[in-house]
């Protein structure tokens, strides 16, 4: 058995420069950075656009090439893995076996912290993996620096703590307590009491949107903007109580697992779920997303684990074929009730929060080996952190950018069938409008202009105007087919109409 953990040494085999160019690996990486094919420019009639796009494509190619080279030469650390000899199974390898093989720094990450008094612990890591927050069910909140294993702050809130979550950095964290959830600063000062959400079961922070999402005991999903404290959305899921909630890191969609075995996905700008999936026959016990957002793993109370491809919304059939098989196993002490399992970012470490404290085990290959200090820097200085905070705030995304496919932002609006109102609905709307017009109080004018006849005339006019906004039924039934271009032209202001493209 061999263990290779984050091989940080440079590749020993260096190709001569002319061979580098035709490196297949490099090409594959380049393709990845090109993000898909360019458009077919031959079809374009506009020569100017054609050449400009061609030059742009060239730049893209250059950028991709540079990025691929950077990835190859400047990010040499590759993810670790477990390698076994012959028939040996990777999941038979125990933590003690691993400890013998790995370096001292890594072996330091295998430990158990025994805190028997304050019940099962919830864990949360900052994006850089530097800090960990542990929340004991019986009110113990601890903020730990994982690099030095220093306890930064420990507070006892003397209340049930159901969940904990870091906000955008280690300076703030939120805790879902018995009645309300609270936001604390790093030094344990209570900053806010979030009363509007009610008793919260799960808390998650959407770091690109600065939204604190929570689901409470009666199955309401709340999104609160932590920058200015406004409640962006509160949605009644209508699926009952749940304490399974995860955020898709790719697009910020929140997924909830329900007792009926369904998983629903939500965004703050719509009251209806984006997607509902029937995943399990029994209640969903937990959920997890792949960082690239394409895969989702669910587990049900019927002791089954399923992996879903979120691009097709189909189950990945890797369970039997061996793409997804058991990799490692770690047996806990009997009687430990596991509350939360979470990988530490940028480390091959799995944190396990349980009823007797928390443990940390090594899972080779679980962490991204090359951290990007612009994304999340574990060795951040105070100044860098502040700078980062400002940048994060400047780059904050509005809540409506949460959608299933965020790459579609900026593209053409998907053509949609126009939802035509039914006749009854139109009638009802018309009636309402007419009533509103009738109810309008007319201003009292000067003596000559306030005649009853004039007033009635004016009123009639108002009603007529209100009616006019609703087209006649016959006309609408005739169905004037307007072309797409005309549609677009109709939306433009009058002065720009002439510039609308004729299709």
């Amino acid at each position: 058995m061999e263990v290779a953990l984050e091989d940080n040494s440079l590749m020993d085999k260096v190709l001569p420069p002319d061979e580098q160019e035709i490196d297949v690996e490099l090409e594959a990486k380049e393709k990845k950075y090109l993000r898909g094919e360019g458009a077919n420019l031959e079809t374009l009639k506009d020569k100017k656009l054609k050449t400009q796009l061609a030059s742009r494509e060239k730049l893209y190619g250059k950028s991709a090439k540079a990025a691929a080279k950077i990835e190859k030469w400047l990010l040499p650390a590759s993810a670790g893995y477990l390698e076994t000899d012959g028939l040996e199974k990777t999941w038979r390898v125990k933590q003690t076996d691993i400890a013998k093989e790995v370096d001292i720094l890594s072996s330091r990450n295998q430990y158990d912290i025994v805190l028997p008094d304050f019940g099962p612990y919830k864990l949360d890591f900052t994006a850089s993996g530097r800090h960990m927050l542990a929340g004991g069910r019986k009110g113990h909140l601890a903020l730990v620096d994982m690099m030095s294993m220093n306890l930064i702050k420990e507070i006892q809130v003397r209340e049930t703590v159901r969940d904990v979550a870091f906000l955008h950095n280690d300076q703030f964290f939120a805790a879902a307590q018995k009645k309300y959830s609270y936001i604390y600063a790093r030094d344990g000062t209570e900053l806010h009491c979030l009363k509007e959400r009610g008793p919260v079961a799960r808390l998650r922070f959407l770091k690109n949107h600065f939204l604190l999402a929570s689901v409470n005991k009666i199955g309401q999903l709340h999104y609160q903007d932590v920058t200015y404290g406004d409640m962006v959305a509160s949605i009644r899921t209508g699926k009952g109580r749940t304490d399974v909630m995860e955020v898709n890191p790719y697009n910020g969609v929140v997924a909830l697992g329900h007792s009926g075995g369904t998983v629903t996905m939500w965004k703050p700008t719509s009251q209806a779920p984006l997607v509902q999936m029937q995943c399990h026959p029994g209640p969903v016990s937990s959920l997890a997303f792949h960082p690239n957002g394409h895969l989702m793993a669910t587990s049900g109370k019927e002791r089954k684990l399923k992996i879903w491809d979120l691009r097709k919304f189909e189950e990945v059939l890797g369970d039997s074929s061996g793409d997804y098989s058991r990799y490692m196993s770690h047996s806990m002490v009997k009687g430990y009730q596991i509350e939360k399992v979470m990988f530490r970012p940028y480390e091959d470490v799995l944190g396990i929060g349980h009823s007797m404290g928390w443990s940390s085990v090594l899972i080779p290959g679980s962490g991204e080996p090359n951290f990007d200090s612009w994304v999340a820097n574990p060795f951040e200085t105070t100044k860098q952190r502040r700078e980062k905070e400002v940048h994060l705030l400047l780059d904050k995304l509005p809540p409506e950018t949460i959608m299933l496919d965020p790459s579609k932002i900026g593209a053409m609006r998907p053509s949609r069938r126009k939802e035509r109102l039914t006749r009854g609905e139109i009638e009802a709307e018309k009636e309402v409008a007419v009533e509103a017009a009738k109810g309008v109080e007319l201003k009292k004018k000067t003596k000559g202009r306030n005649k009853p006849s004039k007033r009635t005339k004016k009123k009639k006019e108002l009603v007529e105007n209100a009616k006019r906004t609703f087209p006649e039924q016959e006309n609408s039934a005739a169905g004037k087919k307007r072309r797409i271009g005309e549609d677009a032209a109709a939306e433009l202001p009058a002065c720009l109409k002439r510039f609308a493209r004729k299709n």
Binding site: A66, R137, M403, A411, M412
Partner: protein, 772 residues
């Protein structure tokens, strides 16, 4: 004279020709001459002349105009029609002749008149010379074979044989000359100008050719500029002069007298020093020249005095700040006490604070200071003054409040302390098992001893007595057993830990639990964990209820089964091996299936999906018709009315089906993907592709790459984000200059050239036409 006339007539003819093309501007004198002159016998000329005359006659030019025309230089008029040299010569000569002609004309007239006066005969009689000349006739048709000239007809100018033969004699001699002359004439021959439209077309054509040629030079340049991603204006460094006020000021030189004086003062060392150090000195400096020594001393003293006064005043005010009223201090102390903020910060301070608080409480308990038992309060109450005056009433209630607060705190403190004690004792039990055991033993023994049963009321009934007895017996037995156990433990030296601690773990234990009471006691401490979990269960149950009634029945069984599985979870195969011949244990999967069979989750989901589909793609409306209404008498066999589905309805139905088919979740049974339009997110999309783009695909492909610095290496970010036009503020942008451009050159964005935007427009084209 005759020869002269001929010449003039010829010139007039040519002139007329040109006139004809050019317009009606013919000198008056020539017109006259044309009218009066006899034509030369040259047939060619004659023909043309006649033509001209016809035209000119119709023209009818006003005299003033023609006269006015005379004032202008004629050369201008003819510049386009004839070669320059020819024109000039002709016009000059013509001019001369014009003058002569008019003179001659005038002479002739006078002579005729004189003769008439002298002789008394008509003037026609003297006009013998004129008579011999042929009259001017205008021919309506061009001369030809069938239309011979007048001369020929009248037989005057008939050709003879000699005429034909004469040249032949000299033929050999002159043939050479002739050919040369012919050549000359051919060369010098002036063809008649083309009709105007043709001429203009030609003109345009040639002009266009020239312009095109000129412009085609620019094409590459224009193309390059047009297709360049960025156009750079004024690449060369241009000195824009001073950029800052400081830069301007640094080079300032005093010139005028006033400026000189200012500069001398400003640069004075003494002044600047004074300015830096003391404002007063600056004043002194200003007045130094005018003040005497005495005044100076006086001033100095005055300033010193003022300074000391100021200092004293400051000191006093500082002192005053420190002095505060009694009331202030009282309020301040109260505030501090109430806030007890300091207490939180510092443990020592907290201790002190707690001591003080305790002292206050004790005092309150001993003195009843705030119970309004004082003389004053009693008096007030007795007299009812507290009702009468607001202030006193308030004061009394406040006192009472303070008392209540203090006493309540005492109570709560007592409670807390007692519970603390209990907890402490519990805690200490663990430390000293002996003590705990002793205590437990004592308690059980005591319980054994007092067997008092109240013998009244319900308890006196015989069956109740019996039941109680039974219970008591059981309890006694249990107690005895417990005592025995305690003794055993005591004997073993407390090595065995008390059972209580075992049940701390969170593992669920099912079946008969040994000490349910104890576990409950455990969770009964100050965390309300228990109640919370209760709520959880209730809620879950509620959900289940709403989900399916069938589920409730199976609920308990499933749980036990699951837990049993958990019990044997380490090895599934083991569990299966334990199959006895009599009792067959179903497989794990089957068990699970059975466990979750109760609720029809899938069916419910399908129902939900149908609902969502109906909502998002609504079913077409049914006609609001009752059978039989608005329809003719039944025609079908059965004689019943049937509501036929109209074509419209069928269409609607088909449309709906198509719409359903296009949905993403059409083939996925287990998924509902909402296709509701998010209005807020609509602003993130465009309805039409932006300007240069015409197709959606190209636009979206061009948008696929992010161009920001977060996603691109810094070597490319600049190129990706460079603006379309790069220029410096304040630099004049000059019009584009011609330069040779290699048409096959690739646009290189890395090495930007100084090329300017094409200014190919009217200006240049106009220039081109002018050159032409």
């Amino acid at each position: 004279m005759g020869s002269l006339k001929r010449k003039s007539s010829w010139s007039s003819k040519t002139l007329a020709k040109s006139k004809k093309r050019k317009g009606p501007h013919l000198p008056n004198s020539i017109l006259k001459m044309i009218a009066t002159h006899k034509r030369p016998l040259n047939s060619d000329d004659n023909e043309i002349d006649s033509d001209v005359d016809l035209y000119e006659y119709e023209e009818g030019i006003p005299e003033e105009e023609s006269r006015k025309n005379n004032r202008y230089d004629r050369i201008d008029n003819y510049e386009f029609k004839l070669p320059d040299d020819f024109e000039d010569e002709d016009v000059e000569s013509e001019d001369d002749e014009d003058g002569l002609n008019s003179e001659y004309d005038g002479d002739d007239d006078r002579h005729a008149r004189m003769l008439q006066v002298l002789t008394g005969m008509p003037s026609a009689a003297f006009n013998s010379e004129n008579k011999s000349k042929p009259l001017l006739f205008t021919e309506p048709y061009p001369e030809g074979e069938f239309n011979p000239t007048r001369d020929v007809l009248s037989g005057k100018n008939i050709l003879t044989e000699e005429d034909f033969l004469a040249p032949l004699e000299e033929y050999h001699k002159t043939s050479k000359q002739i050919s040369r002359m012919r050549k000359d004439t051919y060369n010098s021959l002036v063809h008649p100008p083309l009709p105007k439209p043709d001429r203009e077309r030609l003109e345009r054509k040639t002009a266009r050719g020239l312009v095109d040629e000129e412009f085609s030079k620019w094409v590459h340049l224009v193309k390059r500029n047009r297709e360049a991603p960025t156009v750079y204006f004024s690449q060369e460094v241009v000195n824009l002069g001073k950029s800052t006020v400081g830069a301007i000021a640094s080079e300032f030189q005093p010139r005028t007298e006033f400026e000189m004086r200012m500069a001398s003062v400003l640069n004075d060392n003494e002044v600047s020093e004074a300015h830096r150090e003391d404002g007063a000195r600056l004043l002194e400096l200003n007045q130094a020249s005018s003040l005497s020594m005495e005044d100076h001393i006086k001033d100095y003293n005055h300033i010193a005095k003022m300074r000391s006064l100021l200092f004293n005043h400051e000191r006093k005010s500082k002192q005053i700040k420190k002095i505060k009223s009694k009331l202030y201090h009282r309020l301040k102390n109260k505030g501090l006490r109430n806030s007890a903020l300091g207490a939180l910060m510092d443990p020592e301070m907290a201790k002190e604070e707690a001591m003080k608080q305790e002292a206050r409480r004790v005092e309150e308990r001993m003195t009843f200071k705030h119970k309004n038992r004082g003389k004053w309060a009693k008096r007030m109450v007795r007299r009812g003054l507290n009702v009468k005056y607001n202030g006193t009433g308030e004061a009394i209630t406040e006192q009472l409040q303070i008392n209540a607060e203090l006493s309540r705190k005492i109570n709560s403190l007592r409670d807390g302390s007692s519970s603390d004690e209990e907890e402490l004792s519990d805690g200490s039990d663990q430390d000293t098992p002996y003590k705990l055991l002793a205590k437990a033993k004592e308690k059980t023994l005591r319980a054994l001893e007092d067997d008092e049963v109240c013998n009244s009321g319900l308890m006196s009934l015989p069956f109740m007595v019996r039941a109680m007895k039974k219970k008591n017996e059981e309890a006694n037995e249990e107690a005895k057993r417990a005592v025995e156990e305690y003794e055993e433990w005591e004997n073993s030296g407390g090595a065995v830990k008390p059972k209580k601690t075992i049940s701390v773990s969170g593992r669920r234990v099912f079946g008969a639990t040994e000490a349910p009471k104890e576990s409950k006691k455990d969770s009964d401490n100050f965390y309300d964990n228990n109640s919370d979990s209760d709520i959880d269960d209730n809620d879950l149950e509620g959900v289940r209820d709403t989900a399916s009634p069938a589920r409730r029945n199976t609920g308990t069984t499933t749980e036990t089964e699951v837990t049993r599985d958990e019990g044997g979870e380490d090895s599934e195969s083991e569990a299966e091996q334990m199959v006895d011949g009599i009792f067959e244990v179903p497989s794990q999967a089957e068990l699970i299936n059975r466990a979750f069979a109760g609720d029809d989750v899938v069916g419910e989901f399908e129902k939900e999906k149908q609902e969502v589909l109906n909502q998002e793609v609504p079913e077409p409306e049914k006609p609001v018709l009752l059978p039989g209404w608005g329809q003719p008498w039944p025609t079908n066999k059965r004689g019943y009315h049937q509501i036929k589905t109209t074509r419209k309805e069928e269409d609607a139905q088909r449309k709906r089906e198509e719409a359903l088919k296009t949905r993403k979740d059409f083939r996925l049974k287990h998924v509902i993907i909402s296709e509701k339009v998010d209005k807020k997110a609509e602003k993130l999309h465009t309805t039409t592709p932006p300007f240069p783009f015409t197709s959606k695909e190209v636009f979206e492909h061009s948008m696929r790459m992010p161009i920001g610095p977060e996603f691109n290496p810094s070597t490319v970010v600049g190129d990706l984000n460079r603006p379309e036009v790069v220029k410096k503020t304040g630099v004049i942008i000059k019009p584009v200059k011609f330069e040779e451009v290699n048409p096959n050159e690739e646009v290189d964005d890395e090495h930007p050239r100084n090329h300017q935007k094409p200014r190919l427009d009217k200006k240049t084209s106009r220039r081109q036409s002018k050159v032409k």
